[in-house]
Symmetry: C6
Subunit: 258 residues, 6 copies
């Protein structure tokens, strides 16, 4: 349904203000992700809308990964909250567009505490029933798995973890506000920035250096790259998202149109 | 059923008191919505009943929107509570007619806190399971998603947000009580007021200036406009209302007849 | 089933004590309803049993209504509790017969607080899921909608509202104890009293004045009136009773026979 | 199933100790019921086992009843707890045999508080969903209907009501311990005592006076009376027992054999 | 399935340590049961494994029973906890083998408090819905039946009752440690001890006296006795175990193999 | 699905860092398990990935077991947490790979407290409904089985038990850090270490002594051994894991790839 409706939506025009918010939001992701050592490298940043996404930042790991460390999860959450943090910094206002980011961050923090034993306060155990097999009878069981006191501690730990990631993102963007402003303007003009271009701009290169005149025309986002990102996106409908992918793949700016 | 019963209801006559309450209620929406910078502009105000609605105020955004800001949600909630606030101000009494408004406002405040991370106290995370896919097994899971302490904080934040919107509406109407009285009387006579007429009246123009004699006969609400409003109304049965529409479309005064 | 069993039950005879209790109960409704400005006028009072009802008081609004005010809901609750209040005043004892009245009053108070935003303490919002569409999936969701602290405040408000209505009824009947005694005796004899007769008796007219000898024979409750009352009664099986009808229609004295 | 298994069980023999406990238990019901003004009169007492019942006390109202007063419910609960109270008084020990009595008393006390508004502390309202129509969708709704604080108050009131009934029964039996001992021995011998015989014995008549020699042979419990009691017993499977019957019909001493 | 797998398991050999633990466990049941006046007499003790049971103690009432006293339930619980108490006393260590005993004891204590009114603190009432008819609609109702405060009191009472039974068992075994040691060694050798042999050994008779040389060969547990015990065991799958049987029948030492 | 995808995954290459983490993790299990007297002896340690497992440690009991002691459960939990403890000690960082270990430990601790009465604080009783027969109606019952206060105590006990096992593992590995480092390097090179080789290395033998040159080529993990381990693994899908197996069989390092 969403796919069918897609083309129709593309004919609608985003306002200049919304394009600006989206550009800052995506660059918030990209800059935080680039500067944190344990987040996947940025592959592409774009404000060309795809489906429900008004813009997207694709990050890809440098190699296949089987294990994810606590540091990687923390940095990925900070990158995911970079979009919201950029909105706060620049516009002193926030939008509905980050709801998907907030869901990812909440899910990751929850799994760190409840599945991966990454809260020292709560210790090396799991909490709650595994929701991976929802129709195996056991699921209908509504006996609580832990007391309300433990539920409170879990909430406290999730809040602490999310808040730290948010502050990490806010701090980085405050320090890089100049770059955020400059590159956002470039993204507004060019609509898509590739990984090497992004790194060069962040290193202080001028647009003229980064985009030589003969390459000036904006290339369409290649089908292949879109496919790859889309393939990772394809993982989203899974009931229990893998935390290693929480911020990887594409961090999108979501429209609140259905 | 409701649709079939519709025509029959139209034959019933509203009392003069109910028409008066309805006129003030609708103008409460319209005046608050007009004066707040981030609510959608008023398109039409009417006390001609449609279905279960005794009256309606249609507001339309000036352009397509993909993102909604916190300020827009706050102003829209104040506009939605403008009807109740007008009843309180004028009659020192309240009716059952605002229940639909209260539902919209509650849903918006809840989403601001639970889906959009718009409460600083609770931070950039989501709360509760997404209710968008009610039959995907996961829904049957009754494990609580957060502790009762967090539930209390969520309630506190919702109450604060709703209360602020209510006070915003009450304050505006108190300042504009004269206009509210004057235009309500005009609405009682003409039954429908268009956007430009409403703005002119609010600017202090006399009815004679706004409605020249040769146009005096009340025009039927055009099918097209009704259709458009109706189309937006059509979005209501969705399980999870989009907050951007919370007060947009039509803010109705509801009858408590089935 | 209940309808089939009906005739059989009619052959059973109520004791004189039960007829007396029923007469006072129904007149409790009628006198409180008559003296409160915002309750629907009394149409008929009867102790002729119908189905499970040992007696009934029919009240009808003077005109069609689309909106119900807080004052109307309060007065209607007081009228509904008038039966119980009369039992307490006269017999210093209470019976199981008022359970249906208590259900109506509880439902109305609950809706005032939870659906109509009529508690200042809790503010202009709704609480709980709308139970109007019980099979739409969402209903199976057992996530709590509000914290236990708010549940406590809701309970406090319901208790306050019900208690005030109860005291209103008790106070009126204490002041009108003489009329209550007198007219109850007349109701025991005549079994049914029409609206104008009731008003005349309450105004202090003697039975001889109100019921001239040539009209002495008790008329059967007219089919038409019974039908009308019955039609309103027919609304009761609805999942969510309309508060405007909470005390209107017929306030019955219920038998605890099945 | 239970009926089929019945004959087989009858071939088993109750021990003398169990017959003695049963005799005291049944006479506990009968004496308390006889001496309280608002309980139904005792019709027959027996220790002939029927189905799962080791003994039974049948009480019948003197006339058809449509309303039940709070005093009637209180006295009936005391009568129902009379069996347990007799065991405590005589044996300083209690058995599993009273579980059915406890269920009836709990259900009555619960309904007094939750359905009939008979607790002054909680006031004239109902609590909880009516469980009379378990398959109407609404039943699946697990939203709590009241807060845990109110649940506590309900528990307190139920406890108070049950405790008062228990003390009423204990006090009466302590005063009538002589009669309890005497008539229990007679019941052990004769196995069944009819209403008039019971009253005569309680009035201090000797067995010789009450049972003249020519009538000495124990009559079988008449089919007709058994039928009538059984018919009232037949009401038990109803989902929501009528409180007016809580102790009426037959108060049995239950075996814990299935 | 379990039955089919049975033979295969029998071919596996229990370790000497496990046979020793089992012997002490079973004699713990037997000695406590024998010395408490209100537990059923011991019929046979065995460490020959049957199905999932590594050993068993069969106790049988001396006569058919219809009523069970509180003292009988208390003594039976102590007997059931005698196995665990013996393990603690002798090995200062506990095993998984007592889980079935713990279930029985918990169920009995729960029923004493919740079904039989045997806690003075909570009084003569029942708690919770009867779970005997799980598919009658009412079962789906998740409204709580009592407050969390009452749940706490119920837990306290269950804990007190279980703890007292545990201490009773521990005290008896401490006093009879000599007999426990001696007879356990005999049970290890002979594998099964009949009622009269057990009583004789406990009375201080020597093995030579109890088992004359010509009877020395261990007899197979007779089919008939096994059948009888098995028949009582057959009662276990019932949804609501009868408390009078809680420790009767066979108290087994369970393997934790499936 | 997972099985089909298996071969494809094997073609992916683990990074050197991940192989190192896995080697330490598996040796953490092996060293703790070897040094605790009540854990099953180590049979094999490997970092050859199998299905979702990046490495595995197989431990096998020396004989068939029917009973499991509290000490065995405690030592097995410490062995299971040895992998996580090794990661913490060596890398001062933790990964998602231990989630399966945490599940096992939580389940064991929960059963010790809730099924086996192994918490002195909570006593010899069970808590909660047995979840072994999820579709027998009773399971749908959501009445709580114990109060929130008891839920808190259960949580406290689980936390204490898990924490003690964690500290046991951490303490052992801190003392054996030298051996952990040395053997991890050997495991990285050889990929699999058999039981006798492991014991020899832990005893301080050099790799040259343990692996004579003519045996140097790494043997494939034998099908038979893999089968046996796999056979024990086959027990995992059971709804209620047997605690005696909690750490036995194979303690795997899990990939977070699906």
């Amino acid at each position: 349904m969403r796919v069918i409706a897609g083309p129709e939506k593309k004919s609608r025009v985003m306002s200049e203000k919304e394009r600006l918010v989206t550009a800052y939001h995506e660059l918030g992701h990209a800059i935080v992700g680039h500067l944190l050592p344990n987040a996947d490298p940025v592959h592409k940043v774009s404000i060309i809308s795809r489906g429900q996404a008004l813009g997207y930042t694709i990050s890809l790991p440098t190699e296949d990964k089987f294990l994810t460390t606590r540091a990687e999860l923390n940095d990925t959450m900070a990158m995911t909250l970079g979009g919201r943090a950029a909105e706060e910094l620049i516009f002193e206002e926030i939008t509905t567009g980050a709801s998907n980011d907030l869901e990812k961050v909440t899910e990751t923090a929850k799994q760190m505490v409840m599945r991966f034993g990454m809260s020292e306060r709560l210790g090396p155990r799991v909490f709650g029933h595994d929701r991976g097999q929802p129709f195996l009878g056991r699921e209908f069981n509504s006996e609580p798995d832990y007391s309300d006191e433990v539920a409170r501690e879990i909430d406290d730990e999730i809040r602490r973890i999310v808040e730290e990631a948010h502050q990490t993102a806010a701090k980085i963007l405050k320090e890089k506000k100049g770059e955020l402003d400059t590159i956002s303007q470039i993204l507004l003009e060019r609509e898509t920035i590739e990984a090497d271009e992004f790194v060069a701009l962040l290193d202080g290169k001028s647009p003229e250096e980064v985009f030589p005149p003969d390459e000036e025309e904006t290339e369409e986002p290649s089908e292949a790259a879109a496919e790859k990102g889309s393939a990772r996106e394809g993982a989203r409908p899974r009931v229990q998202p893998k935390p290693g992918l929480a911020g990887g793949g594409a961090a999108e700016m979501r429209s609140d149109e259905p």
